[in-house]
């Protein structure tokens, strides 16, 4: 339906309707353009997937560190999480890609400098993965912490009173319930991460948004190209939210 309405919006003159030829799969050039645009899926998907997986690992680590016995561990974790949550993701991305290498090169030949050396020459893909992972990790830390704290204390005490260790209590009693509680918020974060991956266009990563922008500068058809771009994200997220619903239905809390 959207596809039939959009041409009308571009005006009724023959010339304007002809604008859609830029992505018309029945013409060789339109097909070539479309394939170029759709090729961005591979990068958008791998970037989002890498960030989501790393973000979950970071979030789980963060949530556990926030429950550490040592005050300084909690303090340091809290400070890092707040910092990453406060800095806009776009700024974080620019900083990781452009500023971080300068700092690391400045530390050349020190132990830390040598250790961080691989980060001095990040490709746009890995810089975007780093920034998106950190961002997702910070928000997931909060989601996981709330999920873990939502399990009633009495259930933990019951497990401990039976001689179950702290680790066993966490993996068998706390985590399974926490995962169910935090699933909706986690899915939300996944969706945000997929959408936010579009910011990587700014550092030249050829994902969906970048490809639409590049084609637009060549063809001057912003309406058609950015509409297709919006539809690409729509399709991607519809699939993702459908998957999420299936998973949620299977692990619904009692």
């Amino acid at each position: 339906m959207v596809l039939t309405v959009l041409p009308l919006l571009s005006g009724c003159s023959a010339e304007s309707v002809a604008g859609w030829r830029v992505v018309d799969p029945t013409t060789p050039r339109g097909l070539q353009h479309l394939l170029f645009l759709l090729g961005g899926f591979r990068i958008t998907l791998s970037l989002s997937l890498a960030a989501v997986v790393a973000g979950v690992v970071l979030g789980l680590m963060g949530a556990l560190l926030l429950r550490s016995r040592h005050g300084w561990v909690r303090g340091l974790t809290r400070a890092l999480v707040e910092l990453v949550r406060i800095v806009p993701l776009f700024v974080l991305l620019l900083w990781v890609y452009y500023a971080l290498p300068i700092i690391i090169r400045g530390m050349a030949d020190t132990t830390l400098g040598n250790f961080l050396e691989p980060l001095a020459d990040l490709s746009p893909f890995w810089a975007a993965t780093l920034a998106l992972s950190a961002n997702a990790g910070a928000f997931l830390t909060e989601i996981f912490r709330a999920g873990i704290e939502g399990v009633p204390r009495g259930q933990v005490e019951a497990a401990r009173s039976l001689g179950m260790s702290e680790g066993l209590t966490f993996t068998r009693i706390v985590l399974p319930q926490a995962l169910r509680r935090m699933l909706p918020a986690t899915v939300n974060q996944f969706i945000n991460t997929v959408k936010d991956s579009s910011l990587a266009a700014a550092i030249g990563l050829a994902e969906l948004t970048r490809r639409a922008t590049e084609l637009q500068t060549q063809t001057y058809r912003p309406l058609e190209l950015y509409s297709v771009l919006a539809l690409e994200y729509l399709a991607l997220l519809l699939v993702l939210t459908w998957l999420a619903r299936v998973v949620e239905r299977r692990v619904r809390p009692e």
């Binding site: 016995r69 009633p152 009495g154 259930q155 005490e157 019951a158 497990a159 401990r160 009173s161 039976l162 001689g163 179950m164 260790s165 702290e166 066993l168 068998r172 009693i173 399974p176 319930q177 169910r180 809390p253 009692e254």
Partner: protein, 253 residues
């Protein structure tokens, strides 16, 4: 006969609030000790100290003659944590709010610790767990989720869960206080059965009738100390102190 648990001068404060002010109490094997006291008198804290869920500030808890109170005080690394867990497994606890795990079936609740702490083979754990559920009258509910059960049934599952570790003593922390009056009977019946089998039990309770009928000893705790200690007949029917008389009068109404 030597005491199974011997509590010596136990003190515990939460901030400025002194909850236990020097409790001393001996519990011999096979005894059923009912602990009475007004709310806030420290009786629940006493039980939680015995199970190392709270750390006492000073005093001793001798379990088979060994002081276990220091285990609760410091974290003390892996060896101490393992020792703590071994001890807790030998001391069963039933809570006021049941604290069943809602994401597991009733049977899974009962066999979780036997499987993972006692490391029993699954078949044996399930057989023992099934027998315990039958004992508390819930054999038909093995595959149900705890949320399907009434409060009284949930508490009976919690008792079976604690028994599954074959503990040497069972601690009951107001096991019927969260229940509707018509459901307390079924839980007390299970406790009566355990007492008749010779289980060593320490019950914090407001059920004076149960204490009179089942307890071998009744202890009245007042202001963080043991105020009266004796047979049910002596403590409940012939209270010496004014505080205990007041306390009992409220239940007689």
């Amino acid at each position: 006969m030597t005491a199974l648990i011997s509590i010596r001068d136990l003190t515990k404060s939460f901030g400025a609030l002194a909850v236990l002010r020097g409790v001393s109490l001996d519990i011999s094997p096979g005894e059923v000790v009912c602990v009475l006291g007004a709310s806030g008198s420290g009786k629940s804290t006493l039980l939680r100290c015995l199970n190392l869920l709270e750390s006492a500030d000073s005093g001793q808890i001798l379990f088979h003659g060994t002081d276990i109170a220091p285990l609760a005080r410091a974290h003390g690394g892996r060896a101490m944590e393992a020792e703590r867990n071994r001890l807790r497994a030998r001391i069963g606890m039933v809570f006021q709010s049941f604290n069943l795990w809602p994401h597991m079936s009733v049977l899974a609740n009962v066999i979780e610790a036997p499987l993972r702490v006692r490391k029993l083979p699954r078949a044996q754990a399930e057989a023992e767990g099934g027998a315990l559920l039958a004992k508390v009258g819930l054999a038909d509910f093995a595959d149900s989720r705890p949320s399907r059960l009434s409060g009284g049934q949930q508490q009976r599952v919690a008792i079976a869960r604690a028994l599954a570790m074959a503990p040497e003593v069972m601690l009951f922390d107001e096991p019927t206080s969260a229940l509707d009056p018509e459901l307390t009977g079924e839980v007390l019946a299970v406790m009566r059965l355990l007492a008749a089998e010779g289980t060593t039990m320490v019950c914090v309770t407001h059920e004076i009738g149960f204490a009179r009928a089942v307890a071998s000893r009744v202890v009245f705790i007042d202001e963080g100390r043991v105020a009266e200690d004796g047979t049910p007949a002596a403590v409940i029917d012939n209270p010496r102190g004014a505080r205990l008389r007041q306390f009992l009068a409220r239940f007689a109404e």
